[in-house]
């Protein structure tokens, strides 16, 4: 899966979790919670959705890796390989 596809799939999940957020202009290198109204419960939802949709498990100690879009892509891409 290309990095762009991974990126899109993350944005799809965020869109479903936070339907009111405008995702057209999300910056890749800025912490997601600093540009969107996301809290720790939302990150839990992202983890659960990754598990449900893509059978990918993110252990608790790796939650930090998901803090930016770039981080998500770097961390998740190998898992889709």
């Amino acid at each position: 899966m290309s990095e762009n596809e991974v990126r899109k799939l993350i944005l799809d999940i965020i869109h479903d979790i936070a339907p009111d957020e405008d995702l057209s202009d999300v910056k890749s290198d800025v912490r997601l919670r600093d540009q969107l109204d996301l809290d720790s419960m939302d990150f839990l939802d992202i983890v659960m959705e990754l598990r449900k949709r893509h059978q990918i498990e993110v252990p608790e100690e790796d939650y930090m890796e998901l803090s930016t879009l770039d981080g998500c892509v770097a961390y998740l891409s190998p898992k889709f390989a």
Binding site: D39, S40, M41, L44, M48, R51, E57, P59, E60
Partner: protein
Amino acid sequence: MTKDRDIQIGEAGGILAPPAVTAPSVLRERRKTLVSPKRLEGLAPSYDLIVVGSGLAGLTAANRVARQGQRVLLLEQHYNFGGLATWFKRQNGHIFDISLHGFPVGMIKTCRKYWTKEIADSIVQLKSIRFDNPQFSLQTTFDREDFTRILVEHFGIQAEVVASFFDTLRGMNFYDDQRLTTRALFQRFFPGRTDVWRLLMEPIAYANGSTLDDPAITYGIVFSNFMSKGVYTFQGGTDQLIKAMKAELVHNGVDIRNYAQVEQILVEPEGEGPPRCVGVVANGVRIPAKAVVSNANIKNTVFKLVGAEHFSPEYAAEAEGVRMNSASTQVYLGIREGETLPFVGDLFFTSSAPEFDSEALCALECTSRTFSFYYPEIRPGSERYAVVASINSNYRDWADMSDEAYQHHKEKYAREAIDVLDGYVPGIAQKIDHVEVATPRTFEFFTQHAQATSFGTKFEGLKVSQELPKHVQGLFHAGSVGIIMSGWLGAANYGVIVANEVDRYLLGLTKPTAGAREESAHV
């Protein structure tokens, strides 16, 4: 004076005639026939998850796990679902809410995400929260801006001090020093200002039973959630909320059963590792499951449902040491059909105690009560009004009473509540046609919680709750613990956090970790 009026004080205890249809004495009889194996006919042969108890944590965990595609069964011993989020109906069209006094704004997002948009859209903000006590009398919208205004204008505190206090609270998290008490925190920012302490502490004491001597981090986390953006309620009443949640559970394929008393959580030895949970026994019926979430009180879960023998002595001792928060007494006042009340506020914290005092707040000699006013808008289409007085109580004071003393105190509580209320809303006593009192004994009957706790456990309960799966594989606890995980929002969010652990376990992905502490610190 109301003393001369002929008001029959019923209960939720049924000592004075006429016993209400849902009084424990009546229910106890009814339960004997209803809590039966028949109740559990038609269940699946086994489940991925059984949830024991339908408080907001149990309900939300069940719904969340079901949405992940797992087969879930929810068992509730009471006839209503909702746990403490409950209500009761009485003759002449009265309906009373038990714990619908107010919750933080975060409940909107939680309902939107883990329940439905319709539920979230029914949440509305309360307009006016009032205080009256020997130190001050004021009204607020209960948000940071308004508190800042009040602290500066009314109490003469410097704006910078207020700002730095709020910022300190916001910055607090789970890993901060737990030895710092709320009292010490207040002393640091507002030395000697017991009036300010009262404004800041009294509502929280009613919201979660915490005291000045509990860890400041619990205060900081709860206050930042609660008192920063106002207080909210559910339009439609608790009955409509629970009805909508039940429908959503059924929609997501959850099997739900009331009058289902879980007697045992089944545990089997597992080689070298900790034992494994394999199901429950409810109404005498064995129901297998891969995982169980207990929404029963944490101590009941460990000692009554599982049994101390299945745990290490260290964990059992830790669980034994968990302290409960205070219990509650409530006086329900129903306004006669056709009568109206002026708007006098939504929540009204009243006290005759000279200063805020955590012990006096719960003392049997009652000096402080919170009145919740229910106007017709709370149940659109209804024309009815009700007032509920909530009082924090010590379980032991009530549990150990003789029947005569119990009856006496119930009547005294009702009379005093009406008298105090009449001082604020002159003439209201004449409009009341239904009076009823619930005590810690009543709450114990309905929830089976240790010491009838209204708000779960003290801080140490959170660790015991979160570590349960390390001691019995596949067994989880979700319910009011640790002060920060209580109230409607705390319980619901804890249900979600635990659902994540359950989901991971069911998919065989669990490896021993430190637990869900990190997330819980920020909800």
